[in-house]
Symmetry: C2
């Protein structure tokens, strides 16, 4: 037994434990996050993990609650509650006057394996021969996953913690945890959705975009991307000619490109997609009318009408990705194609990800009933349905009016950020040009010809500024390699001015 070390719990108890014991117990509790709430839960998780791993063997005596409290510098009560719960769960057993002991081992422990050698890196070639396709080779938008750690994240479509309606979401989530609600959402709905969410989309979400839809004309998806994938799968064969805005959304291009060898690049001008002769050759075309992705121009009303007229005459199916809807009401919002269409040539894709949180993956598609019927059968085959508990929470959130309140709040903040950027851009980037549609949460910035925006983004990131280089949006990378996207939905308003200054300095330095 080693040296005795005095330790003190948060409620003032002091204990003496042998230092070998301290080392042992500390090894199990090294990861406690004191900034987090739920200290007691963290301690329980760590004990459970250690028992499951076999690091705390059957029959081992646990430290007394006083000793462990002192060791972890928490209150003794936290440990008492944790131990009692673990006794209820049969991980520990309490023996009178002698303390708590580890009980019941799991039946089979094969061990946890992040320590072993990588299993098959050497065998990559063997797998490559077997693959029917190589999705990892597609060109994608690359955003740093740790963008939240950068002080100036001018990133598009990401989550802003300061805008998330924490309390209202919690209220809705709690309401969805009542026993009758659990019985609703715990079921396998086969190809169905939560009728309450469909109804809320009909009543409160779609009307804001001028869209009327019956319940059999709406289906939920795992984010808007999933809607695009399902539509592509339903309509596109190897030979289908699919029109793709160029520059355009890389994920849509990849989805269509996986299914057909006949992706037709479509021109984009300051009024959006150009309905030229190439467009007329398409069987299906992908359109971002509200805010063209990535150039952020709005399609004029005249262009929208023309597109619909040609679609009708040439039997072209339009897939309208209203990915961002109109988060910021400024100027005259134009109705989406789906709202103007009288001939059912538009399949409309929308999302709650941008308004709420991308991590929730709540998207939807509005289409004629025969299309929804097939999409449901396809979705059933692919994954049955999006998780129903999230559907129910979203239905409650919208139904309780929180969606409307939240939209107002988001709009106010984003409007302010856009005004600030309107002022700052000419000063910070005097050699660049930019476009931004009313309502959009990003600018599309063109640097002087010859600028390599990928290198610019790398240099900016070294200064803590995240922007999205433009090359990936074009079918031929060169076309937009001097451009970048500047998003402002995820950067704190007070970070915009210093961030723009840094970006300007980086650009003039390159």
């Amino acid at each position: 037994m080693g040296k005795l070390s005095p330790l003190r719990s948060t409620d003032g108890h002091t204990t003496l434990l042998p230092s070998s014991d301290i080392l042992f117990w500390n090894s199990h509790f090294q990861e406690i996050d004191r900034s987090g709430t739920f200290l007691q839960l963290q301690i329980r998780q760590m004990i459970v993990t250690a028992i499951e791993d076999g690091r705390l063997p059957l029959g081992m005596r646990m430290p007394s609650s006083r000793d462990l409290a002192s060791l972890l510098k928490v209150s003794r009560n936290t440990i008492v509650i944790a131990y009692e719960q673990l006794v209820d769960q049969n991980f520990l057993v309490a023996r009178e006057r002698s303390g708590y002991f580890v009980t019941g081992l799991p039946k089979q422990i094969a061990g946890y394996r992040d320590s072993g050698p990588p299993s098959v890196r050497a065998e990559q070639s063997r797998w490559t021969e077997r693959f029917a396709l190589r999705p990892s080779a597609f060109r994608n938008i690359v955003k740093p996953l740790d963008w939240q750690n950068y002080p100036y994240p001018f990133i598009f479509g990401q989550f802003d913690p300061t805008l998330f309606p924490t309390n209202d979401w919690r209220e809705s989530a709690r309401a969805a945890m009542s026993v009758p609600e659990i019985n609703n959402w715990a079921r396998d709905m086969i190809d169905g959705d939560d009728p309450a969410l469909i109804e809320q989309l009909q009543r409160q979400v779609l009307p804001r975009r001028g869209i009327r839809a019956r319940s059999d004309e709406i289906m939920m998806t795992i984010g808007a991307q999933h809607a695009l994938y399902l539509i592509a799968k339903l309509f596109v064969t190897r030979e289908t000619s699919v029109g793709m805005e160029d520059p355009g959304y890389p994920d849509a291009r990849n989805i269509f490109g996986m299914l057909t060898s006949n992706v037709i690049p479509l021109r984009v001008d300051e009024e959006g997609l150009v309905p030229d002769e190439a467009f007329e050759r398409c069987a299906l075309a992908y359109v971002t009318a509200s805010h063209q992705c990535p150039t952020a121009v709005t399609m004029s009303l005249e262009r929208r009408r023309k597109l619909l007229a040609i679609a009708k005459a040439k039997n072209i199916l339009l897939v309208e990705d209203d990915y961002e809807s109109e988060l910021i009401p400024e100027g005259n919002d134009l109705p989406p194609l789906a709202s103007l269409d009288r001939d059912q040539n538009v399949l409309y894709v929308g999302s709650l990800s941008k308004v709420l949180a991308p991590g929730l993956r709540l998207g939807y598609v509005v289409a004629p009933a025969p299309v929804i019927r097939e999409l449901r059968a396809l979705r059933r085959l692919m994954l049955r349905h999006p998780p129903l508990n999230n559907q129910r929470v979203a239905a409650l959130f919208i139904g309780l009016g929180h969606y409307r309140t939240h939209l107002h709040q988001v709009a106010r903040v984003l409007f302010e950020r856009a005004r600030l950027l309107d002022q700052l851009l000419p000063k910070a980037l005097p050699t660049c040009r930019w476009t931004r549609a009313a309502g959009s949460t990003s600018y599309w910035v063109s640097c002087p010809t010859g600028t390599d925006a990928t290198r610019l983004a790398d240099s900016a990131r070294a200064e803590g500024v995240v922007i999205e280089p433009g090359d990936v949006f074009s079918i031929r990378e060169d076309d937009t390699s001097h451009c970048f996207r500047l998003g402002f939905s995820s950067i704190r308003t007070d970070r915009i001015e210093p961030g723009m200054k840094r970006l300007g300095a980086v650009l003039s330095g390159t």
Copy 2:
């Protein structure tokens, strides 16, 4: 103004309202569910809906809290809280001494449209020409969606409300609603998963099946079905020969059949899939080793070893769907193929749906790292990732030891049901034969030749008994049209005996 009617609130206040007013207000509150908790939330939802629909117009005066409480027969305080919240949200405005008034209308109301005529039923043919495939035409398992309303649901793989770990799930869900946790799960993870859930699978879920996996060998999916779809998409081209157990899982058969015209039926005997010459011709084969779907036989250890040896020799990729794992520990559980495999010829598919709730859609795949890498890229394209909030709740649920506790609880109940059915089957269905693997939650029942199990199921349902007819499981319907699946994971234990009696009576009556 009409006749005055006296009304009384639950706290004893009596009011007089004109009966025209009563009619008007009752029309807005007709759907209150008094059995549900959260009365106040229901009332708020109804007022929000009526305002959004324009049924409560701008400037309209709301009834006083006393009057509305009397009208709805709730306590006045419920109404006061609801009104105050609606004032905070700017749906109502309070004017001193004169009450609450409807305020702020949404910008654009296109109206809610379940009343109009069906939009395009007449135009079905126009759409049929456009579809690249017709998933709605696939033969699927058909379960009554309202199975919970039948007294004797011998249905497979559905949710049993009496087994759901309500309090433990709530604790985990609440913990996932702290601000730091929201910041974790609200993000777009692109192609990632919650590392905490992957770690819990490694530590607590997979070891129970004898599987060791590195974190780069695991990916989450929207239920096990999604894992099958992704694997099929990654490995199967038009020409790939895919072996499918026959009888087998119809959804897997449909997924493979959508991609290749070369689905090879594989025989199943009392030891499971037969590794015959047909098997040797496959590039990929779908296997349910633990409990063959639907016959519920367990593959012998010898057969497992033989399958793996042939897979190695002939370079056959095995997709092991361990859909039910071993919910009931009885007899000697055999290790899954993935646990016996030393040559990386097995892709393992698992699910938390059967243990927790199908509505959550939590599945996963374990495969060599190069495969997971491509599956992640494909999943990214399809839908990015399963909702992260559910991933985090599941990670907490497992990490807090609730998963283990819950498994024990479920096992105890299901074991008892299986023993009961073992006794009842010979008495209730004396002319039938049946199989059931140790650990399985269903029996596969063969009626005397000539019995039409679909008609039997229809007759049984009229008596309140739900069973699943067998024809859909076979490639040629006739092969299993005299069989049915009898599940017991969703029927209350005390309903089993009367249910079996009724089923027996129906069978002897046909």
